[in-house]
């Protein structure tokens, strides 16, 4: 097994694309090292991307934010402007693992590990975030939800690296929120996670919304029907009830030890409703 820690993106993509065996990218290592320790993966090459400056920075860009894929959850939580602009995204990152884990874990790793239950992903999808992917053949900018294709599987080609997340500029009177259900407060995996991002107008009508749900399908679901239940309403009780049923209807969960199908479907609706209320509150409106 070879360990490399290049300081440029070019060098990293070159290493990854020329490795004939199994290569893995190391960011915080909170998934990779656990998998290696359990004997689930034995990479021939590990490319540590933490020495690449672009991947370690949070910068304001086009009235939005660009977040390096190897920024830690703790660093996002400490970034005051980011946290005030995108509280839902930041609170999702701050639910990964535990306080200690968040000192290492990164949004890039959380996305590329491709767990259907990853906490940061529904919030990013709801936020309308895009990622910049760089490979030897160039750069592409794609929506976050196009990265994961199934549990543990991504659309990334050999040698490609997720470099950064772009959180777009957003109108005033916008708010986002992420809620998840776990039996245990920390060090647990979401039974269901829901991200809601919305914009209200001066009259208190919801004019834009995105709803994403995790852990209820092979990948995180962006649910336009749930968003439609909010848009054009004052996000009152009847709209919230519509939202809940739309969110529940979109779920295609499995039965497992963490939750039965029926339970997950019901909880997805409840969390969507509660997250929407928080998002509205954050958008500076009262219900």
């Amino acid at each position: 097994m070879r360990y490399e820690a290049p300081d440029s993106l070019d060098a990293a993509t070159e290493l990854l694309s020329s490795e004939p065996g199994v290569s893995r990218i190391l960011a915080g290592g909170t998934d990779l090292l656990v998998q290696m320790h359990a004997g689930m993966t034995e990479p021939d090459l590990i490319v540590d991307i933490k020495k690449i400056p672009d991947l370690r920075a949070i910068v304001a860009e086009d009235s939005g934010f660009r977040i390096g894929a190897a920024v830690t959850g703790a660093e996002m939580g400490e970034h005051r402007e980011l946290k005030s602009a995108w509280p839902g995204v930041v609170e999702a990152v701050e639910l990964i693992g535990s306080t200690q884990i968040q000192g290492r874990a990164t949004p890039g790793g959380n996305l590329c590990n491709a767990s259907p239950a990853a906490d940061s992903v529904p919030a990013m999808v709801a936020a309308g975030a895009t990622v910049t992917v760089v490979g030897t053949e160039g750069t592409r900018e794609i929506p976050v939800q196009e990265i994961c294709t199934g549990p543990g599987q991504t659309s990334l080609k050999k040698g490609e690296i997720v470099v950064s997340f772009k959180l777009p500029a957003r109108p005033s009177r916008s708010g986002d929120a992420y809620l998840r259900m776990t039996p245990r407060t920390e060090m647990d995996i979401a039974v269901v996670g829901v991200g809601v991002n919305l914009t209200m107008d001066q009259e208190g009508n919801c004019i834009d919304a995105r709803v994403a749900i995790g852990a209820v399908a092979p990948t995180v679901l962006l649910v336009p029907e749930a968003a439609a239940a909010l848009i054009g309403t004052k996000v009152d009780e009847s709209a919230l009830a519509e939202l809940a049923s739309a969110a529940s209807a979109a779920c295609r969960p499995i039965d497992d030890k963490r939750g039965t199908k029926k339970y997950r479907i019901k909880v997805a609706g409840v969390l969507a409703k509660r997250a929407a209320k928080i998002a509205v509150e954050r958008a500076g409106q009262s219900l």
Binding site: M181, R184, K257, G259, K262, V270
Partner: protein
């Protein structure tokens, strides 16, 4: 001897704690010897299989591998039940669960040993596994898992009847029948088991091991290797938590011993966390049926209790566990007529054994939840159905157990007062609920695991010429503070400070036998032995001082390293000076003391009467406040009030620690912990996947200690390590009912179960989640014994 206590009863620092918090404590896993080899064990990938052949030639040829062994190299069986043990050093012809041990390697380093495991080729014939109580109680398809089982895969059946059941039920105004299930869970001690064995050229074997029971391990090792015990020395270094998981002698301890004999070098093994899940010996899953007759006032006229235990692949202490699921129901409330039938089933899962509360949390859950159901039907407050029918001090139970002191009334009253249960119960807003439950537990098993008439605990004290005092005892400090108890008691009796005392424990060559850290026996038994030894020395020292001062011996006292006469300030001598004078007068200073439970506490004479008796029962009561989310059924425990009758707190701070630890462990069992298997495979053998609460889920715990000064306890002390766990699980279940009106008759209480019961209730169905029936199996005719309920128990002091 009644005198003012200077050390006992005071909050003070735990012995050895500074080393622990500064990382200096040497655990078994820290031990490293010159020329030491590392051992790894190859484990079965099948839940049930016959081993057709093992080819380890490739492994043996790997550079760095010093020895490879399999079951045929050490075929003698062993176990905590000694002669009845069914544990194999390594599987002999069958593997009985995924993780069962098949072969072992000793190599120069762990990596090489692991590499070598991959080169061992095992040819298995896969057999059809039995994975549940239901599958184990029907006639087996193939061959039974063990040939000694009584009937198919039913390992052991017990059937006992005390008093007149028919007449008892005939007197009842209400007969309540319920079925409960309690899922299995594991100990989760912080320290993974580690063992170093060193077989030296003189034919002597030394074993350092994380064990709760050096004495039983000593016997087992001698038996497995047909060695005289005099050639074997077992040392238990400070153990990083046990909770029952290190009670059994375990096969890895035998494996490294054998490999050391084969190689002539020390051999070490440290189990991984995953392997600890396979070593297990944890809580038995138990399915229970309880039929209870009560009068309108809530008094019980008869109880018929049935339990079915899922034992896993080996016997462990399981026979005792079956009895324990039936033994202590009678100790808390008046039950004049009582019947118990229990069966332990062998399944292809990691073996179950003793875990904190050993066989009693499951029936306690059933009894306490059922009492609440009865109370509701009769319109009685849950407090009163308990308070009005408590067993009385110094009486016997239906099954011939002798109760000495009981502080259960004070316990219930204390938690009622703090929680305001009487006013709040039934009156909190929807979603908030209070639950009450009680429990009782033994302070040490009345009988040793093998029959003998020797002391259960021995203590030896030596005083050096500088005034230092060394206490020797076979007891094993697993974190509960047993070393501290010895130090406090000897300090109290000799009038020296705790810091002047050195403790040498858990070494079969250096220390007199103490049976081990199980059954909550250590404080009472080593404590009494320590008092016995210390008072002999105290008398010797006081004789010298009395002569020196020309005062009567009785007028002397000792504290803070000074022996003095309170009435005469001129009579005072420092402890070191007195030691010099005493040794000059008496010769080398030392003494021994011992303890065995008094015969009056040893219970009945019927077959099976050996499980349940103890010198003293403890009592606990808890009130739990919960919040249940009305939409998601998420369960949060917001507050716990717990009162425990500890007899006398030797160190209230350590007792509080034991109580809080019990509450925490009980909450884990109540809310989330469980062993889950799929296709024979343990689904969650890691700290990440096996969900146990963190401090974030642990609510504010208010601990109240009740002191009843038991005549059999040292200074009146009883146990604190296990009893306080018992009320937690039923109190949570009862609180959930108060919060949302559904009965969860199954542990753990997951939100999904509450959710399902709430949905059912909305649909007009019974708002209950739990098992629907129990298997029909033939039980032997019960052993019928006259009930001794309410008879006077002899009040005989142990000293």
């Amino acid at each position: 001897m009644s005198k003012e206590l200077h050390v006992i009863g005071k909050a003070s620092r735990k012995v050895g704690v500074m080393q622990k918090v500064s990382g200096q404590t040497v655990y078994a896993g820290d031990i490293s010897l010159p020329r030491m080899l590392y051992c790894k064990i190859l484990r079965s990938i099948h839940p049930y299989a016959r081993i057709k052949s093992i080819d380890s030639r490739e492994a043996e040829a790997l550079p760095g591998v010093m020895a490879v062994m399999n079951g045929k190299d050490s075929p003698k069986k062993f176990g905590i039940m000694l002669r009845r043990g069914d544990d194999e050093v390594l599987a002999i012809d069958k593997t009985r669960f995924v993780g069962d041990s098949v072969a072992a390697v000793a190599a120069l380093d762990e990596e090489t040993a692991e590499e070598a495991l991959k080169l061992i080729h095992v040819d298995y014939e896969v057999l059809e596994p039995v994975m549940s109580i239901a599958e184990g109680t029907v006639p087996p398809n193939g061959e039974p898992i063990h040939d000694y089982a009584e009937l198919g895969n039913i390992h052991k059946r017990v059937s006992l009847e005390f008093g007149e059941m028919e007449a008892g039920f005939a007197k009842a105004d209400l007969i309540q029948e319920d079925i409960f299930y309690y899922e299995g869970n594991t100990h989760l001690a912080m320290e993974e088991h580690a063992t170093v064995a060193h077989y030296e050229a003189d034919g002597k074997l030394t074993i350092w091991s994380s064990t709760q029971n050096p004495h039983y391990l000593h016997k087992a090792v001698a038996n497995v290797f047909d060695m005289p015990p005099s050639r074997i020395r077992i040392i238990a270094p400070p153990t990083g938590g046990g909770f029952g998981g290190k009670v059994d002698p375990l096969n890895h301890e035998m494996v490294v011993s054998k490999l050391s004999m084969m190689t002539g070098r020390p051999v070490k093994i440290t189990l991984t966390r995953e392997e600890v899940f396979y070593a297990h010996r944890g809580r038995h899953p138990v399915l229970m049926k309880v039929k209870t007759g009560v009068k309108k006032d809530g008094s019980i006229t008869a109880m018929d209790f049935k339990s079915f235990l899922d034992g896993g692949g080996y016997g462990s202490l399981g026979v005792a566990t079956v009895y324990y699921t039936g033994a202590l129901q009678t100790v808390t409330y008046n039950i004049p007529n009582y019947k118990f039938q229990g069966a332990r089933i062998v399944t292809n899962k990691p073996p179950c054994g003793p875990k904190r509360g050993h066989g009693t949390p499951q029936p306690r859950f059933a009894v306490e939840v059922q009492l609440d159901k009865i109370a509701e039907k009769l319109g009685i407050n849950p407090l009163d159905i308990r308070l009005n029918h408590l067993t009385r001090p110094f009486t016997k139970t239906a099954n011939h157990l002798s109760i000495t002191t009981t502080g259960l009334r004070e316990c219930i009253e204390a938690v009622e007062k703090r929680s305001n249960f009487r006013e709040q119960y039934g009156n909190l807003p929807l979603g908030k609920g209070l639950g009450l439950a009680c429990g009782s537990y033994i302070t040490g098993a009345g009988f040793p695991i093998y029959w003998n008439e020797m002391p259960h605990s021995g203590v030896q004290i030596q005083i050096d010429r500088g005034g230092g005092v060394t206490v020797f005892c076979g007891s094993t400090d697993i974190g509960q503070g047993s070393d501290s108890v010895l130090a406090y008691i000897v300090a109290e009796e000799l009038g020296v400070t705790v810091d002047d005392i050195s403790i040498v424990t858990a070494d079969t060559s250096l220390t007199p036998v103490d049976l081990g850290s199980y059954s909550s026996r250590v404080t009472l038994m080593t404590g009494n032995a320590a008092i016995d030894a210390a008072r002999k020395l105290r008398t010797l020292l006081f004789e010298t001082a009395a002569k020196e001062f020309g005062v009567p011996l009785e007028s002397l006292d000792a504290r803070d390293n000074v022996v003095f006469c309170p009435e005469n300030e001129n009579c005072s001598i420092s402890f070191p000076d007195l030691v010099v004078k005493a040794e000059s007068e008496h010769g080398t200073l030392g003494s021994v003391g011992s303890y065995a439970p008094p015969p009056s506490t040893l219970g009945g004479k019927y077959k099976g009467a050996g499980v349940g008796p103890t010198p003293a029962y403890t009592y606990s009561a808890a009130v739990v406040l919960v919040d249940v989310d009305l939409e998601t059924a998420e369960l949060k425990v917001e507050k716990i009030w717990i009162a425990h009758d500890v007899g006398k707190a030797i160190n209230p701070l350590l007792v509080q620690g034991q109580v809080e630890g019990s509450v925490y462990m009980g909450l884990g069992e109540a809310m989330m912990e469980e062993q889950v298997f799929r296709r024979g495979l343990h689904k969650t053998p890691s700290l990440l996947d096996y969900k146990s609460p963190t401090f974030l889920e642990t609510p504010d715990i208010e601990t109240i200690l009740i002191e009843t000064n038991d005549p059999n306890g040292p200074y009146g002390a009883k146990e604190a390590g296990q009893g306080p766990l018992l009320p937690i699980m039923p109190a949570v279940a009862n609180a959930v009912y108060d919060a949302v009106g559904v009965r969860i008759d199954e542990i753990p209480i997951h939100p999904q179960k509450i959710f399902k019961a709430m949905r059912d209730k909305e649909k007009g169905k019974e708002g209950r989640y739990g098992p629907k029936g129990v298997p029909e199996i033939p039980f032997p005719d019960p052993i019928r014994v006259e009930s001794q309920w309410g008879q006077r128990a002899d009040q005989e002091s142990s000293r």
